[in-house]
């Protein structure tokens, strides 16, 4: 059964979410358990987004509530939960758009992924260095400008040339990005939006 905290999170009832977190902490409920309930709320939000009950406006609001709530909990964590996978994420060089990338970062985080967010206008070398350092299962590259397609292609080519392509799956997304773009740049998968990106990643990992 879904807890009232998860439901309040899913319904974006900010005041009730914070009141309930305080109440549970006062009752010595472990921070990890509270966090899991919030994550479940975020999963419901993802489902509502995909069934078009929710839109970007709700994802942004959810992101804010979740971020503030998580801030209160994380310093109280007793143990570190193992992440299901790591994704190195960034908006490609030549493009400074961040909203889509930030939403992807949030949705992956709340679904148990470790997100290494490299920011916007990310040079190729920064992707390469991050892949070497973090050994992710996924690289997520986003762009909103068609002029950045070539940089996306170069980034992916370099990842492969450096011998890093066989261990990572490359996911791409962003306004004008479609299957044709994916073929052009040599990506593994196109993600239509953040929740479908999570779905694709989980499918590739063969987890629920």
């Amino acid at each position: 059964m879904v807890s009232s905290l998860s439901l309040n999170m899913a319904d974006l009832k900010e005041d009730l979410v914070f009141a309930e977190i305080t109440e549970q902490l006062n009752k010595n409920v472990p921070a990890e358990e509270i966090f899991k309930e919030l994550q479940l709320g975020m999963e419901i939000i993802g489902e509502r987004y995909q069934s078009q009950q929710y839109y970007l406006s709700e994802l942004i609001m959810a992101a804010d509530i979740f971020k503030n709530a998580a801030k209160n909990l994380q310093d109280k964590f007793q143990s570190t939960d193992k992440k299901i996978a790591t994704i190195v994420l960034g908006t490609v060089s030549g493009d400074i758009h961040d909203i889509g990338k930030d939403i992807v970062s949030l949705i992956f985080t709340t679904n148990g992924f470790e997100v290494i967010d490299l920011g916007v206008d990310v040079p190729i070398q920064k992707f390469i260095d991050a892949i070497r350092e973090h050994k992710p299962e996924f690289v997520g590259i986003s762009c909103l400008l068609t002029t950045a397609f070539d940089n996306m292609k170069k980034t992916i080519e370099t990842i492969k040339e450096e011998g890093l392509g066989s261990n990572v799956k490359i996911l791409i997304g962003g306004g004008p990005v479609d299957k044709g773009t994916s073929n052009y740049v040599g990506a593994d998968e196109v993600c239509e939006d953040a929740p479908s990106g999570v779905e694709i990643a989980k499918k590739l990992l063969e987890v629920k």
Binding site: L12, Q52, Y54, Y55, L56, S57, E58, I60, M61, A63, D64, G94, D95, I96, H97, I99, D102, L145, T146, T147, F149, D150, G175, P176, V177, D178, G180, T181, Y184
Partner: protein
């Protein structure tokens, strides 16, 4: 031999016939290209976007070299105009970026939460005056070169027999506020302080309406863009869209029609969910211009017999596709969305790295 005046009248008549939902002799083609034209002719983007007269010359030269267009949506470009729409600073080629990169809106929280109160108390025009001066580095003065070059750009276009179709842009408070506040902060405002945001919008729309009437009466354009970007249905829950977006579009569009000008609903991103609302607008007076993200075939189903549609050869197809693909898609549009009540164009803007042969294929498609 047909004079350029005859040619202009023939083309204008073709466009008007489409807007009035009657069948023209052929579907009109009215594209929009800015940085594409600079790249096509090897002009520095940094010069193109900061010298309005040059942008007009380049646009006319680029399009006339590619084929016969009936009109151009815009006839000149000036990068600082973008700041006035989104109340944001810009990254400009030649100043902040290499000469041939595309300009980008640098979205930060430049408009503060207390600005809503200022707008409510002092009015939107007063707010804009102060905002342009202090937060956009005296934007008002920066816009002068565009305004000074504008009549010349219109005349140079007409002199070639090309219709300068929709050479100015207006929009609703939502778009201005969203740009000024930055999208994430603004969407939080819609949830946390909805009444205050609405009160500021209600004040702002009155000044926008008056400014728009003044603009239309001075410039007397054939059409004007009523722009929609972040206000798209795909970004907002219906209850927010119905409250903060639609009433303001309806108001401004009706004002444009009252002034005898054609509103071009230049709506980027996906508006499919709310297309039914567009039927509330005056019949055969407006143009719906989606960018390739709205389902244009669904739009045809819903708006058929009510509103002209313009579009929507997608940016990715113009960049990565072949002339054959562009030609085939354009023909499909002409046959399925047209031939009545349809104007062929790209979706949104021809991207900077579109292949010229693809743009030519789109322009030529109306004659196939």
């Amino acid at each position: 031999m047909t004079s350029t005046t005859d040619l202009f009248n023939e083309r204008l008549n073709r466009i008007r016939t489409a807007v009035e939902l009657r069948k023209p002799d052929r579907v009109p083609i009215v594209p929009l290209g800015d940085s594409f034209c600079a790249n096509h002719l090897g002009e520095k983007v940094s010069d193109f976007c900061t010298i309005p007269k040059l942008s007009n010359e380049i646009m006319l030269k680029s399009f006339t070299s590619l084929g016969e267009v009936d009109g151009l949506q815009h006839v000149s470009f000036y990068v600082h105009m973008l700041s006035s729409i989104w109340l944001s600073k810009l990254k400009i080629p030649g100043r902040d970026l290499p000469d041939d990169e595309l300009w980008q809106v640098d979205e930060v929280e430049l408009m503060k939460i207390e600005d809503y109160d200022f707008i409510i108390e002092k009015g939107y025009n007063t707010f804009l005056g102060e905002y342009y001066m202090t937060r956009l580095d005296n934007l008002g003065e920066k816009l002068n070169p565009f305004l000074e070059s504008f009549p010349g750009a219109i005349k140079a276009t007409i002199d070639l027999g090309i219709v300068p179709f929709s050479p100015a842009i207006v929009t609703i408070p939502y778009e201005n506020f969203c740009g000024g506040r930055s999208m994430v902060a603004f969407m939080r405002d819609l949830y946390r302080i909805p009444d205050k945001v609405q009160a500021a919008m209600d004040v702002a729309i009155e000044d926008i309406v008056n400014n728009t009437r003044q603009l239309l009466q001075t410039v007397k354009p054939i059409a004007i863009w009523v722009g929609g970007w972040r206000a798209a249905s795909e970004f907002l829950a219906p209850h927010l869209w119905q409250r903060f977006v639609w009433p303001y579009y309806k108001r401004i569009i009706e004002v444009v029609v009252e002034e005898g000008v054609i509103p071009v609903l230049h709506f980027d991103s996906d508006w499919t969910r709310d297309l039914e609302y567009l039927r509330e607008l005056p019949k055969a007076k407006c143009i719906f211009s989606p960018d390739g993200m709205t389902d244009i075939f669904k739009a045809k189903e819903i708006l058929d017999g009510h509103m002209c549609i313009m579009g929507d050869v997608p940016a990715a197809m113009l960049t990565l596709g072949s002339p054959e693909e562009v030609s085939e898609y354009s023909k499909r549009l002409i046959n399925e969305i047209g031939p009545s009540g349809f104007i062929l164009a790209q979706g949104c803007d021809i991207p900077p790295n579109a292949k010229p042969e693809n743009v030519k294929a789109m322009i030529d498609a109306v004659k196939l």
